[in-house]
């Protein structure tokens, strides 16, 4: 462990940070809530809750329209989030930051807008075996519509993508490669910088699904040289229904609008409509203004703690959690990549994940059970479902001990 990491761990005051999250202060079935489902959605700090409340109580107005004071305030607050998201991703320009409903919509926007203009019959889209359904289905739909072919990068038994196989899939017909930065079901951190460079060498574009990465590590779209990068607000402590799609300006300019409506136009007549400049061309209709403002507060909160400090603490949680869970007889961790984020998916011999989830819930422990919207991942590991504990910086080592005690109880009930 580096000196820097050990300094961070010594000074990381998790109990103090937990005070910022009202939801964590409650009891579930008479036990303190142990929230281990942050990969599904992260809990929200007061800063986010207050920002949304302030908008509704004080600044509420539609944006980009009125000349009145409230509209100017709400427009400024909403656009501030765009700037903050640009800084968060280290993008070059605010014009490259498109507000969407979430990662899913970001991916669908690219599949629909870029795909229908640029993908030809016989072309290929490359995805990977560890993708969430949201980074599979939009590409399947596109390939079906364009008579294109979907190729899949396989993974090894640890849950790591096999780059030699990926290399073989790339060719002159490859239009775009779409991969997750971090797998939601396995925790694998993919070597996306290398994978993007490989795509570019083949003349293909690369889209990164950053839903699981944005909350947990520093994302620098320019250092990665990503063509598109999407993430969801609600997984980075913000509200649901808002997310960000980053796209390189030159690419976005060469893509048709995604949806038509107000705000995305320059002029409208019944004969002809001209479209607004970036990024507004992709933002039809009144957006989720409150959500956008809440997301801005969330990114500001993360910046205040420091994403490197967050990553260091989560890594410690992962190390401790893995070590403790591995000791439980009959428990098998699914996803053992060498580069991993704080997601621990596991199965227990002879006990169904739903029963594990219910018994843990009775002890106040919230985990996700099921296929995690990644059925091909479950098939790859020959399990119908797993139990997943996903950790965030507001989790403690003591909560991992509670999870372990809970699992022992599960084993007693179903012994």
């Amino acid at each position: 462990m580096s000196t820097l990491t050990s300094d961070i761990l010594t000074s990381f005051d998790v109990e103090k940070l937990r005070e910022d999250f009202p939801v964590l202060k409650q009891q579930i079935h008479g036990k303190p809530l142990v929230y281990l489902d942050s990969a599904a959605t992260a809990q929200k700090p007061y800063a986010v809750i207050e920002a949304i409340r302030h908008f509704h109580e004080v600044d509420c107005a539609n944006i980009h329209r009125g000349v009145h004071e409230l509209s100017q305030r709400s427009t400024a607050a909403y656009e501030q989030t765009r700037t903050r998201a640009r800084q968060f991703l280290n993008a070059a320009s605010d014009a490259e930051i498109v507000f969407v409903r979430g990662t899913t919509e970001g991916i669908n926007l690219v599949a629909s807008s870029w795909g229908h203009r640029h993908l030809k019959a016989g072309d290929e889209i490359v995805i990977s075996a560890l993708e969430h359904h949201s980074n599979i289905v939009p590409w399947q739909m596109l390939c079906e519509a364009r008579d294109a072919r979907l190729r899949v990068i396989p993974m090894n038994d640890r849950g790591e993508l096999i780059l030699e196989e990926y290399e073989k899939l790339l060719n002159a017909r490859t239009g775009l490669v779409a991969v997750a930065h971090i797998s939601n079901a396995l925790g694998t951190v993919n070597p996306v910088a290398e994978m993007i460079a490989m795509a570019h060498r083949a003349g293909a574009l690369a889209l990164i699904d950053g839903a699981q990465a944005a909350p947990h590590l520093r994302v620098d779209v320019r250092a990665l040289d990503a063509d598109f990068y999407a993430f969801s607000g609600h997984k980075v402590l913000g509200p649901t229904g808002i997310g960000i799609l980053y796209g390189k300006q030159a690419l976005l300019e060469n893509m048709p609008p995604y949806q038509g409506g107000g705000d995305m136009i320059r002029t409208v007549t019944f004969e002809k409509t001209t479209y607004a400049d970036l990024p507004y061309k992709f933002e039809a209709g009144t957006p989720n203004i409150a959500g956008g403002i809440g997301l801005g507060a969330a990114l500001e909160y993360i910046d205040r703690i420091g994403i490197e400090r967050i990553a260091a603490w989560e890594h410690e949680l992962l190390r401790y959690g893995t070590e403790q869970l591995e000791r439980i007889p009959g428990l098998r961790i699914i996803g053992t990549a060498r580069e991993k984020a704080a997601v621990i998916s596991f199965v227990i011999e002879g006990i169904h994940p739903h029963d594990i989830g219910t018994v843990l819930d009775l002890d106040g422990i919230a985990v996700r059970t099921g296929h995690h919207c990644a059925q091909p991942v479950m098939d790859r590991f020959h399990v119908p479902a797993t139990t997943r504990a996903s950790l965030a910086f507001y989790n403690t080592l003591a909560e991992i001990d509670k999870l372990v005690a809970g699992i022992h109880k599960v084993k007693e009930v179903f012994a």
Partner: protein, 145 residues
Amino acid sequence: MVHELYQETILDHSKRPRNCHAMADADRKAEGFNPLCGDKLKLYVKMDGDIVRDASFEGSGCAISTASASLMTESLKGKTRTEALALLEKFHDLLTTDATVSDGLGKLVVFCGVRDYPARVKCATLAWHTLKSALNGADQVASTE
């Protein structure tokens, strides 16, 4: 609290499911699927005129769904088609309403605790959804969704 849901009979039937095998000479077969958890179940029914002579199942699922299939196959034998469908309705009411309609449910009342866990109701009803399509002769996969 755990044992209000996972009553002894449920644990017993989940660990040692009864009638858990294929049936070569079944008259009716149906498959059930719960897309939420991926659980699959195959149900076999042997009829004697209008009466269920035998019933069995195959598949893997959670403790609730396995015990439910096991206890259902036990309780079906000797019932007419109409009686079996009426039992299904009663069982469904037990899981989804506050009504205390335990009359005629026999051992199946052990599932009363499931009522407090809405996310688990579909686990308990998968076998019964499948039964309905078997008895109605529907040649399709029964889904809880």
